[in-house]
Amino acid sequence: MPPIMDTIVKPRDFASASVNQALRPEDKIRFLREMLRIRRFEQAANKHYTAGKMGGFLHLYIGQESVAVGTCSLMGPNDHVITAYRDHGHALAVGMSMNECMAELFGKATGCSKGKGGSMHFFAPDKNYWGGHGIVGGQTPLGLGLAYGLKYKGLTGAVMCFMGDGAVNQGCFYESLNLASLWDLPVIYIIENNQYSMGTSLERSSAFRTCLAERAEGFAIDWSQVNGEDLYEIRAQTQVAIDRAHRQSRPTVLEIDTYRHYGHSVADANAKVYRSPDEIERYKENHDPLRLWKAQLVTENILTEEKYEQLETEVAREVEDSVRFAEDSPFPAESAITEDVYFEVDRQTTAGRTGRHFFND
């Protein structure tokens, strides 16, 4: 199969979309920095995971950075994000600090979820970021609910609910599409199609005519397929969906085609079995959104090699600091195990002090 991006028709010049025309050079540099932060953060995470500093799984987002950075760059005060377990990119893109994210990976008390969630469960409600969810497709009704909440409260906002291509075959996604359309809810389902649901390729897992997003047609939901290697296109097409949510309170399904450079998780022993090393190299060489954006900015005379090196140095320092912060942070106290289970117990309200909530001894 040729890389999926090569098969997408590219008729339009998305750089000229008004949402991109409005960008200042420093905005464009910021996007590069954000993508670089995600990549270098995860490379460090990978290194320390492999060295045994972390437990569980580590699902790397590397190769897909343009999706989180492009979409989240459009968020206004009432726009929200929720995603699946490959969640580091979105977390950093909405403004979470590397420190709290790295510390969470290390299982430390200073982590964003106090070391209780791990890699798949980053949260920052203060930044309209609602996780970080481990069950494939399980977050799709939650995204619907956030949109329901916005509409109920009379707020003009949108919810970007991210999911992988593997999640499109889960039933609750279709139930959510039905309700989103039936009730005019401002939710945008963003399928990050990296073409593999774990080790099973798109063509072995999903039935479709032209693309996955087309399935929205049956629910009378507008949809679009997006070339995920192009930050301008991501922003332009996502803005259309956000406008639809804000102005018409209507849902959208966006399929953003992308590619992960690493395996399903770092523990994916078959990462180079179910897809050929040639394929991976081809994507890295020709479709890496970070390289392409960097080249774009050089072409636009916004970026010099010197400036890029400076970005690399700054990001490397931030990553190093976050690793040091995580290493130096304490593990949660044993007493933390039964904290954050019940709101009423945590607050020691009358309800929280009435009856037995925990059942050891």
Binding site: H121, G131, P141, C172, S176, G355, R356
Partner: protein
């Protein structure tokens, strides 16, 4: 004090809480225009309109998950399951999302939802519609579970559940919806985690929840009339949180206990209660703690036999006589 039926008590609680808090919204299959499959929400849509009382498609995973998501933004959805048995198709949303989101976010999020509906056998609707999942759900730290047995308890606990800031699984009973109890006209709340002595007694403790409480009360009458045994009936009301002190108090008084539930026996609620009694009241016991549960098979359809499958007063009497 006026007598009202169980479903009316629930309806009043929902009505009062909708009036009290603009963030309370009722959702579920047929709850609005149809007035509820079991008429618990009778008249509420007409009174409160489309925003507060919302009909959903048959789509439990989506509307329960949606309620969880909306609650993260501060809404207080009260979601009806036409039967609690249908929670199985929304299990991921209940267990992983409602149950775990607070923990996994390190306490940044809470989820003030109520999921309510009937959870009982005994109506000859077959195994798929007759589950009693209070033990399944009470097994999940993060969820709360209540099983009111009377109209009075149902109203007071429902109002508390809606105001609670954690997810509450509220289990009703279709066989009780039409039963009458005294319910005061003035507002009252019943806290979760507080059991209720439904009948004082001194010879044995009959500990139960849900409809099994009424079965135990009938057994207590038989025991008094035919065997001169004065049984105490303790209604747990709330499964998690659980009023352990009330259990110990009763057992320490009577020195004997029979536990009754319409749950299945394996890892039923009463398995937990029995374990706690032997641990905390070992020296107070004059006999082994015995249990009566629903007979251990999927709910049978045959009307004559399903009545046999659930605990009966005579089953309780027989168990009590074996240790008194």
């Amino acid at each position: 004090m006026p007598e009202i039926i169980y479903r009316e008590a629930l309806r009043q609680a929902l009505d009062e809480e909708i009036a009290r808090d603009p963030n309370v919204v009722l959702l579920g299959e047929e709850v609005a225009e149809y007035n509820g499959a079991y008429k618990v929400t009778q008249g509420l849509w007409k009174k409160w309109g489309d925003k507060r009382v919302v009909d959903t498609p048959i789509s439990e995973a989506a509307f329960i998950g949606m309620g969880v998501g909306a609650s993260m933004l501060g809404l207080r959805p009260v979601i009806e399951l036409m039967f609690w048995s249908f929670c199985s198709v929304a299990y991921d949303q209940i267990i992983n999302n409602a149950g775990c989101v607070r923990y996994m976010s390190g306490g940044l999020i809470n989820c003030p939802i109520v999921i309510r509906g009937p959870a009982n056998g005994g109506t000859n609707v077959g195994a798929t519609h007759s589950h009693t999942p209070e033990n399944w759900l009470a097994n999940v730290p993060g969820l709360k579970v209540v099983c009111p047995a009377t109209a009075y308890d149902a109203k007071g606990l429902m109002k508390t559940a809606i105001r609670d800031n954690d997810p509450v699984m509220f289990m009703e009973n279709t066989l009780l919806y039409g039963e009458k109890w005294e319910v005061p006209e003035e507002e009252y709340l019943i806290p979760m985690g507080v059991a209720d002595v439904k009948k004082e007694g001194k010879h044995i403790s009959l500990i139960a929840h849900g409809r099994a409480v009424l079965t135990a009360l009938k057994a207590a009458e038989l025991l008094a009339a035919e065997h001169d045994i004065d049984a105490e009936v303790l209604d747990l009301r709330s499964i998690r949180p659980l009023d352990e002190e009330a259990i110990y108090r009763s057992v320490r008084k009577t020195h004997r206990a029979v536990l009754i539930e319409e749950n299945k026996p394996f890892c039923g609620v009463d398995a937990q209660v029995a374990s706690m009694i032997q641990e905390h009241c070992f020296d107070d016991l004059d006999a082994p703690v015995l249990r009566i549960s629903t007979l251990d098979a999927p709910a049978i359809y045959s009307p004559k036999l399903e009545a046999r499958q659930l605990p009966r007063p005579t089953d309780i009497v027989a168990k009590v006589l074996s240790i008194c």
